[in-house]
Amino acid sequence: MPQNSVIVSHIGKRYRIGAAPASYRTFRETLIDTLTKPKKRLHGKMTDANSFWALKDISFNVEKGMALGIVGRNGAGKSTLLKILSRVTEPTVGSAVISGRVGSLLEVGTGFHPELTGRENIFLNGAILGMKHGEISRKMDEIIAFSEVEDFIDTPVKRYSSGMYLRLAFAVSAHLEPEILVIDEVLAVGDAEFQRKCLGKMSDVANQGRTVLFVSHNMSAILRLTQETIVLEKGNLVMQAPSGEAVDYYLSHGFSQEGFREWTPDEIPAEAAPFVPVAIRILNYQGDISDTVRSIQPFSIEFEYRLDEPITGLRVGIYLISVRGEFIFTSFDVDDSARFEEFSVRDKGTYISRCVIPADYLNEGRFVLGVNASTFKIKRFFHDEQALVFHVDGTGAPGTQWPEPRTGLVRPRLSWEIEAKN
């Protein structure tokens, strides 16, 4: 019988609204509350009105040596689940049994001190991650080599570039060699080269028979690195299945099927302000909202949003992504430099950015639409790589006289010529 590394049973986590991580109370508020409403104290009972369940009755097992993917939309509870499993926070109800040391890449660079040198930080960070002094000394050379910062290893890390800092931090985490590795979107950071290295290290870990829990929005990484995947939706576990099946389910059920998506306040992170996403819609050739468009007709995508404050240099754009997670293109509404000049400052108010996807461009199949609102190199206000899924119907597209699937994401109508040479 296979051994389980992780057994999660009926875990739930309730957060208090208002005293949730984003805000904390001042002493005065508590003093006044204590005096005026002696019964309603900070540590009083949580009720349904002042709290919400970030996770509800989650149960699953992970076999030893298996890589488990965890997928879900923003706010589905993925990070909360990882925090509970790495013991950062306690569950409100339920329990979990974990066999083996848990290491997580949530904490790349945790405890790094800018005044200490690279070498000193390796020791400190190693100790924080639970490595013994001897273990760190033994792996020191290996860690330094992996981080590629040999020349600066005795320089305070405050003099490092952000890339060097990140590489060093990842190098320490990567050498922790835990029995269970927890990874949350580490791929979102660093340059392409470094991301490749991270992915490589992760597949090494997975191949060494260690247990991996991997949270990602990148479906292709999930499919490549994990055997099984669980799907979280609003705090509930809706599916545990082989990754292919789970990703398929997630992409077809996790999303609005109506051809539009509206954002509710709890789906918008606090750091998005003053940018407020409202909705994204797919409009077919006839101008109706639809989740299916035809390959041979143009269609448009409109993104509606509100600015609570004027933003300078804002660019709002879309990503088109395949269901396997490959990016097909990225496009911003002010890619045209003349338009960028015209909209250099956007006043507060509601806007719609609309673009047209030409006819004869996409192959049939399912596509994922992402959105991004940012200012170049300053701030990324809002970002959702899975805002919406839509279908492209290939009827009438080039080559449909042969009833066979065409490989490739695009299906352009190219002007072929056939020249007979004789």
Binding site: A19, L116, G130
Partner: protein, 282 residues
């Protein structure tokens, strides 16, 4: 949370914690390397990018001594139990600064290290503990200046100086206990950061640093005054070091010890109760 060792692997049980357990000693012992490294980090970093470096550990009490000697000893003529005023105040300032630095650093330790708390599990109590440990070093760095002053004024310790390690321990225990309270409260109420400097100042004047405790003569007031464990500690430290004692002040030692331990235990309990919410609230 219970952790037990089995031959093959570590089994960790994750569940909501219950009960009034004071501190998980086993876990704390397992974290000794972490405590060591955090203490070492605090020490390494403390005087970075300063010109005078560790000399600050000496300059601070000496400058305060000079100020006290001018204003309290000189201008106000505060009695100093027959001891030359500079020596009298310095012998009080050293244990006091040990207390104050430990308390300040411990109280801010959780919020300062919030990124560690929100990202990784470790027994949270190592943060205030290691900041207290790091503060002890300054005390020993400043120690020689006091010895130098004793030689200058021809004071020498007698046999009761053997009590000094115990007084130092009491100082640390009290500071750690108060630090536990404040660090846990600081997670919820950032007001603590503003209260502490004021509180330290007030507490210092409630402790016989700048004046001798002989000035409090009303017996009722004296009892309240002695509730401050630092009164016994500072008086004891000064008297034993300067050889003023004729007998062991058993009553004062026992009284201060009881209060320190009460502060420590209540601090541990409060910290433990709040601990599970740190990552969510900080």
């Amino acid at each position: 949370m219970n952790v037990k060792n089995v031959p093959e692997a570590i089994i960790t049980m994750i569940q909501p914690s219950k009960g009034w357990k004071i501190v998980d000693l086993k876990e704390l012992i397992r974290s000794r390397e972490l405590i060591f490294f955090l203490t070492w980090r605090d020490l390494k970093v403390r005087y970075k990018q300063t010109i005078l470096g560790v000399a600050w550990a000496v300059i601070q009490p000496v400058m305060t001594m000079v100020v006290f000697s001018i204003f309290f000893g000189g201008l106000a003529g505060v009695p100093s139990d027959g001891i030359p005023y500079p020596l009298f105040s310095l012998a009080g300032l050293l244990p006091w600064q040990l207390f104050e630095n430990s308390l300040r650093n411990a109280s801010r330790s959780l919020v300062t290290n919030r990124n560690m708390i929100t990202k990784i599990y470790f027994p949270r109590v190592v943060l205030p503990l290691s900041s207290v440990l790091a503060s002890i070093v300054d005390f020993f760095v400043a120690g020689p200046i006091l010895i130098f002053m004793m030689i200058y004024y021809h004071y020498s310790p007698n046999i009761y100086a053997l009590l000094i390690p115990y007084y130092i321990l009491l100082t640390i225990v009290t500071a750690f206990g108060v630090g536990l309270w404040f660090s846990a409260m600081d997670v919820l109420y950032r007001d603590i950061g503003y209260i502490i400097p004021f509180l330290c100042q007030l507490w210092m004047y409630l402790t016989p640093i700048a004046y001798g405790s002989g000035m409090i003569s009303n017996p009722k007031l004296q009892f309240i005054y002695n509730l401050n464990p630092m009164v016994g500690v500072v008086n004891g430290f000064r008297s034993s070091l300067l050889g003023v004692y004729a007998a062991v002040p058993v009553q004062s030692i026992v009284f201060s010890s009881i209060i320190s331990i009460l502060i420590l235990v209540s601090g541990l309990v409060y910290f433990r109760r709040m601990e599970k919410q740190f990552a969510d609230l900080i």
